[in-house]
């Protein structure tokens, strides 16, 4: 068995295909094929594009993060809303017919709003010709905004925040109470509200920067137990909403042989609890609390001391701006 010589194979192959001639219609068929393909290209690209878009949409629907899986907080209303304090500071003279009342000090709420009270905000300078915050605040119902993805808070202008400043912009934010809901007219974001389980009457409320982060916390007396007053705290979240802080340790007052009190010191809360030993002498245990995002947490070990209320200042009072 011998291999075929290349030249011989070449000759055989050439001879074998010699009868094959090109069809005269070959060129026209090719041209027709080119035109057909050109016509099909656009619809095919369109269909392909639509299919791709549909696929992308489907993938997006599958992997889209559900809003229910995220923390849902009531968001603040649009930034265009003005607050009474802004009006007060920039327009000392109320235009005629604007609805403001002229007088001194904080005004009383409108009669049409049930149990609407204005908190004593220390930095609001009352004076003749100035619009009272309470009159304007009646036009701000308890806002429960729906924009969940609000931007983060701007950095505070001072640390700690000045008294009455919740949003850290250096301006006092007026507060009003309706039933158990406290409405704060934030000068940056507009009104926001927080509803406590209860709000004591008469109202005892303060805005004080407990944790010295530049944003004031809302301290509200919720109820009382005999002569002991209990306070709840609400803190501004990064989304500009107020959220009630759990496990508030703030109680103040003397109730029989037991006394409670608190004061704010350097970003911490010192809570005092004491029991009478003899006459006006109390054995007081002081605990330092820190306010973090999840709530109050105790720092270090409690310290004990003996306090004679006859000669020393009573530790069983409410501090942190509470009158």
């Amino acid at each position: 068995m011998t291999a075929l010589e290349p030249d011989e194979l070449r000759r055989l192959l050439t001879e074998a295909v010699e009868p094959v001639q090109a069809s005269p219609a070959g060129y026209h068929r090719i041209r027709a094929g080119v035109i057909r393909r050109r016509r099909l290209r656009m619809p095919m690209m369109t269909v392909g594009g639509l299919a791709l878009a549909g696929l992308i949409g489907l993938v997006y629907l599958v992997i889209e993060p559900r809003t229910s899986a995220t923390l849902v907080e009531p968001a603040r209303p649009p930034l265009t809303q003005t607050t009474p304090d802004v009006t007060v500071s920039r327009r000392p003279v109320t235009p005629p017919g604007h609805g403001g009342t002229v007088g001194t000090g904080a005004g009383r709420p409108s009669a049409s709003v049930s149990r609407l009270e204005t908190a004593a905000v220390p930095t609001s300078p009352g004076g003749p010709g100035e619009e009272t915050p309470s009159a304007a605040s009646t036009s701000h119902p308890s806002g429960t905004p729906s924009n969940v993805h609000s931007p983060a808070l701007p950095p505070p202008v001072s640390v700690p925040a000045m008294a009455g400043d919740v949003d850290g912009d250096g301006k006092s934010d007026p507060t009003t109470v309706s039933d158990t809901t406290v409405v704060v007219a934030l000068s940056l974001f507009g009104s926001t509200s927080v509803t406590f389980p209860a709000v004591a009457s008469p109202l005892s409320l303060s805005v004080f920067d407990i944790d010295a982060d530049g944003y004031g916390e809302l301290i509200v007396q919720t109820d009382s137990n005999g002569s002991t007053r209990n306070f709840g705290v609400a803190k501004l979240t990064q989304t500009g909403q107020l959220r009630i802080v759990s496990n508030s340790p703030l109680h103040a007052g003397l109730n029989g042989a037991h006394g409670d009190g608190f004061r704010c010191e350097a970003g911490k809360v010192v809570v005092a609890a004491g029991d009478r030993t003899t006459d006006k002498i109390y054995q007081v245990t002081s605990t330092t609390w820190e306010l973090i995002s999840t709530g109050f947490t105790a720092l270090g070990s409690p310290t004990s001391s003996t306090v004679d209320l006859a000669s020393a200042q009573s530790p069983f009072t409410a501090g942190c701006g509470i009158a």
């Binding site: 068995m1 011998t2 291999a3 075929l4 290349p6 011989e8 194979l9 070449r10 055989l12 192959l13 050439t14 001879e15 074998a16 295909v17 009868p19 094959v20 001639q21 090109a22 069809s23 070959g26 060129y27 068929r29 090719i30 041209r31 094929g33 080119v34 393909r37």
Partner: protein
């Protein structure tokens, strides 16, 4: 900007049309003959070559070296011949048995090709050997060029060619 893009596209289309005409006039017949040697049904060879021309025309704008259009065309013919053979094998596998009195092949040029002993012998070779032999000794490609078309190494082309020549020599021994 879009007008310039349209103009450039039109220029490419005109180039492709001119190149298609030139390639057809010069190489169409030889490519049909090449396909006739690669396929086991010479009736399909024109279809394969025409499809290859259409594909080259469509891809004309993407060709990096247009001087190698013939090489690209030849490679397309080989690839399409492979695909056609593969499809035919699948079809034959599932086709019903032909009737004993099935009509014979029609007369004409293709019938003559079918009857050539070397073509019959070629069809009995494995596909890669057949391609190597046809590309080397009918298309007169170098080993490197054949390797490029077959997408294998030069050494493989040498091996396929050698085995193909030996097998063809054995099959065609009686004719020499």
């Amino acid at each position: 900007m879009p007008a310039r893009s349209d103009a450039a596209r039109s220029q490419v289309a005109r180039d492709a049309d001119a190149a298609l005409t030139a390639l057809y006039a010069e190489h169409y017949r030889s490519l049909v003959r090449l396909a006739a040697l690669l396929l086991d049904d010479v009736g399909l060879c024109e279809e394969v070559v025409q499809d290859a021309y259409i594909r080259v025309h469509t891809a004309w704008g993407r060709l990096e070296d247009r001087d190698k259009a013939l090489a690209y065309l030849r490679q397309t013919v080989v690839n399409l011949a492979r695909s056609t053979l593969r499809r035919r094998l699948v079809a034959l596998k599932h086709a019903p048995k032909p009737m004993p009195d099935a009509a014979s092949a029609e007369e004409g040029a293709y019938t003559l090709v079918e009857r050539a002993a070397v073509v019959q012998a070629l069809r009995e070779l494995p596909r890669r050997q057949r391609e190597a032999v046809v590309l080397r000794y009918y298309a007169d490609l170098s080993e490197a060029a054949a390797a490029a078309v077959m997408k294998c190494s030069v050494g493989s082309v040498k091996a396929y060619t050698s085995r193909g020549l030996t097998a063809l020599g054995s099959k065609l021994e009686g004719l020499r």
